[in-house]
């Protein structure tokens, strides 16, 4: 393939650079330069308002001795690596149901998308109700089928599972849309051919549909992990606003929650940047690993 193109090679380069130029330049200015600014700040004691003094690696030394960073790293990793697979798995199921051409599919598509539209405050409020240990529907249901009913929002052991549950709930519609678009891209002839070969529904799904969806799945898992590692809003609206500190917050605080607190509550931009650098390195490692392994499972035409 590369051979064939040789005669337009230089022209192809030129066009490629023209095509990516706006993206690269824009991202450089509004995305990459700010990152370097952040990295630079991690070596200073800036408070966000006053003068900047260079302090070397002091910020890193300090935050590494802070218990809160340990909680934040642990919670972030647990959150990400449970939420992402569960969400993807359920979304895959939902999108294939939505792609079956059943009656009322249009209505279901709208309904499954609704959690993304509802205001985050409403989501947090409603879920605080659903998860209320005494009057919440979740516990009423659990009791009815004879399971233990935990204190979802006032027990430090259960607050993170609560957050994961809400995140999965709100992520399904979003992921399902992208997978649905991917499913729509698979041509009907392929299904016909598979059926003629005598494959049953399950075989078609796992042997043909899923492999053809792998580019979308790869995109979603990469992005979901990056977004999961940077989770903040849900922690902030669901917990930060109801509870000001202590065991519950410690059991659910994430890296970005810590970064936000250091930067804008404690006015310690230097330490916040140092923590952001740690997060940056963590995400980079995970992402590089994902790209390294993509050949193993992602199927490009």
């Amino acid at each position: 393939m590369e051979q064939k193109k040789k005669f337009v090679f230089r022209k192809e380069w030129k066009w490629a650079y023209v095509f990516i130029a706006p993206m690269v330049l824009g991202t450089l200015i509004f995305g990459i330069i700010p990152i370097f600014f952040s990295i630079g700040l991690s070596l200073t004691n800036w408070d966000g308002l006053g003068e900047i003094t260079f302090t070397g690696l002091d910020n890193f030394k300090k935050i590494f001795t802070d218990d809160k960073l340990q909680y934040e790293i642990r919670n972030t990793l647990v959150y990400t690596f449970t939420t992402v697979p569960i969400t993807l798995f359920i979304s895959l199921g939902v999108s294939s149901l939505l792609n079956k051409g059943l009656k009322l599919t249009g209505m279901f598509r709208v309904i499954y998308f609704l959690p993304n539209v509802v205001m985050p405050v409403a989501v947090a409020m409603v879920w605080r109700w659903l998860l209320n240990s005494k009057v919440g529907i979740v516990n009423i249901f659990l009791k009815a089928i004879g399971l233990p009913a935990p204190n979802w929002i006032s027990d430090p052991d259960f607050i993170l599972p609560s957050l994961i549950m809400i995140s999965v709930w709100s992520g399904i519609g979003y992921n399902a849309i992208i997978l649905l678009a991917g499913l729509q891209g698979i041509s009907p002839e392929l299904y016909e051919a598979a059926k003629l070969d005598g494959a049953n529904g399950r075989q078609i799904f796992w042997r043909m549909t899923v492999p053809l969806l792998t580019p979308s799945l790869f995109f979603l898992s990469t992005m979901n992990i990056m977004n999961g590692m940077r989770v903040f809003d849900i922690v902030y609206t669901f917990i930060g606003k109801a509870d000001q500190g202590g065991p519950i917050v410690d059991a659910s605080r994430t890296l970005v929650f810590g970064i936000y607190e250091r930067a804008f509550s404690f006015m310690n931009m230097g330490e916040a940047s140092a923590e952001a650098v740690i997060l940056f390195i963590m995400i980079m490692i995970v992402t590089v690993v994902q790209f390294k392994f993509q050949d193993k499972w992602v199927f490009y035409e």
Binding site: A21, P22, L25, G26, L28, I29, I33, D47, G48, L49, G50, E51, R128, N132, S133, K134, N151, I153, S154, D155, A242, D243, Q244, G245, G246, P247, I248, V249, D250, E261, F264, S265, F266, M267, N268
Partner: protein, 445 residues
């Protein structure tokens, strides 16, 4: 198709021009003439829509100075609009453009905008003032106050003190908070319990709370908030969270006793919802819903409770133990030091300091100026809001530690939350640990 392509290229070129224009990584040759035209064309396209959004109101009188004014409370919009209107009527040279910035993002916004000089000229400030005074972001108005002959003793001392550093003044008080016990009259009547009286004590309160507690409601809520909750009890017990050098004293005896008293309300006498119940239901909402008969809270919530509960909502004095005690706090108008219109900004702040202006803003907060609160009182004819006004006489301000104050305060908040959730909490030990950690944070360079 062709036309579309052309339009897109124009826009694209415009984008590139803008990007390379700011001097970062401009690459390659620009097709100068063509690019420029295209850029102009596209720019005018976009700015056409800008025009639509922007309705320039003050084209005629270019001589007027415009000052920007930020505040965070949407509920006080009527009062602030009135203040601006009165000010603009009082003179001809200055126009005030006010902006409501949501409280959740208010300080984030100040932190980004102030240092670059693109922020407000005049804005509301609260207990965070020292964070802004230290790097020199707030204008020192001591001399201007003297020159204008403003009598600072007309404002509560607890509030003026918040905006004073080493004898220099940085803010004009706008309002202040009072604290009191709020009670649900319907529950008292239902249980046949006497309403709280002036000068009542902790023991009286405990007895009242016990008489009010049954299976449908608690007597009181011991809320874990500093401002409206435990801090008041600390003051009443003759204690304080910090000493005169602004160093923490959170493990001192009066503090431990006060916290123990509240812990006992929850777990020993069981007259208050537990920490977990408060987390699940929200202490303020529990009071509104009649799940608890009493709550300690600030004047800022009077309107909310009144709206939700009507005249079942009543006000009583905070109980005393060793002495009377309450928390106060107040918002002030401050001026940005790097404002390009400090004189105009001062004119506005000076105006806001007058009794007339303070009365105009009295709709939803207690105005700071002595005697200006009468207007506020008329809003709640059937509640004894005078109690809230009087509470400032025996009130102390929120603690503001010598250094890294917010971070130090967070340690205490964490500890209090942990105590609230733990029935068997060793309060002395936990507060000892908090004290140690707070000292560490404050002494850190």
């Amino acid at each position: 198709m062709r036309r579309k392509w052309k339009k897109w290229t124009a826009l694209l070129a415009a984008g590139m021009m803008i990007l390379s224009g700011c001097g970062q990584g401009s690459t390659g040759e620009q097709n100068a003439a063509g690019g420029q035209n295209a850029a102009d064309e596209a720019a005018s396209d976009v700015s056409a829509s800008t025009e639509e959004t922007e309705e320039k109101g003050d084209n005629g009188d270019s001589a007027k100075t415009v000052i920007n004014f930020y505040y965070w409370d949407e509920a006080q919009k009527a009062g602030m609009d009135e203040l601006v209107r009165l000010f603009e009527e009082s003179q001809d040279d200055i126009i005030v453009e006010s902006t409501i910035v949501p409280f959740g993002e208010y300080f984030t916004k100040l932190q980004t905008a102030l240092p670059t000089g693109t922020g407000p000229d005049v804005f509301w400030m609260n207990i965070s003032a020292p964070d802004y005074i230290e790097p020199g972001l707030l204008l020192d108005i001591t001399d201007k106050i003297e020159e204008a002959g403003i009598d600072m003793s007309k404002f509560p001392e607890a509030v003026t003190g918040m905006y004073e550093v080493e004898g220099r003044i940085y803010g004009i008080p706008k309002d202040y908070d009072g604290t009191a016990v709020y009670y649900n009259k319907a529950i008292f009547d239902e249980m046949g319990v006497e309403y709280p009286k002036a000068d009542w004590t902790w023991e009286d309160m405990l007895a009242t709370a016990q008489a009010l507690t049954n299976e449908t409601h608690y007597g009181i809520v011991a809320n874990p908030d500093g401002n409206s909750g435990y801090q008041n009890y600390v003051f009443q017990n003759g204690g304080n969270l910090m000493d005169e050098n602004k160093m923490p004293t959170v493990n001192s005896e009066p503090v431990v006793e006060a916290i123990q008293f509240l812990h006992d309300l929850m777990y020993k006498y069981k007259v208050s919802p537990t920490g977990a119940e408060q987390l699940e239901f929200g202490y303020s909402d529990m009071f509104i819903s009649g799940q608890t008969a009493m709550i300690t809270d600030g004047s800022w919530n009077v309107n909310k409770y009144y709206e939700a509960m009507g005249d079942d909502f009543q006000i009583a004095e905070l109980p005393q133990n060793v002495q009377k005690g309450a928390t106060t706090h107040g918002v002030a108008y401050v001026i940005a030091a790097n404002s390009s219109n400090t004189d105009a900004a001062w004119e506005f702040v000076k105006f806001a300091a007058t009794k007339e202006a303070q009365e105009a803003t009295a709709k939803s907060a207690i105005p700071a100026y002595e005697g200006a609160a009468e207007v506020w009182k008329t809003l709640y004819p059937n509640q004894d809001v005078q109690i809230l006004l009087d509470s400032v006489d025996y009130a102390s301000p929120n603690p503001r530690y010598a250094k890294n104050s917010t971070e130090a305060a967070q340690i205490l908040t964490d500890t209090i939350s942990a105590i609230w959730l733990d029935e068997n909490a060793d309060i002395q030990a936990m507060l000892d640990e908090a004290q140690e950690k707070m000292l560490e944070v404050i002494n850190e360079e």
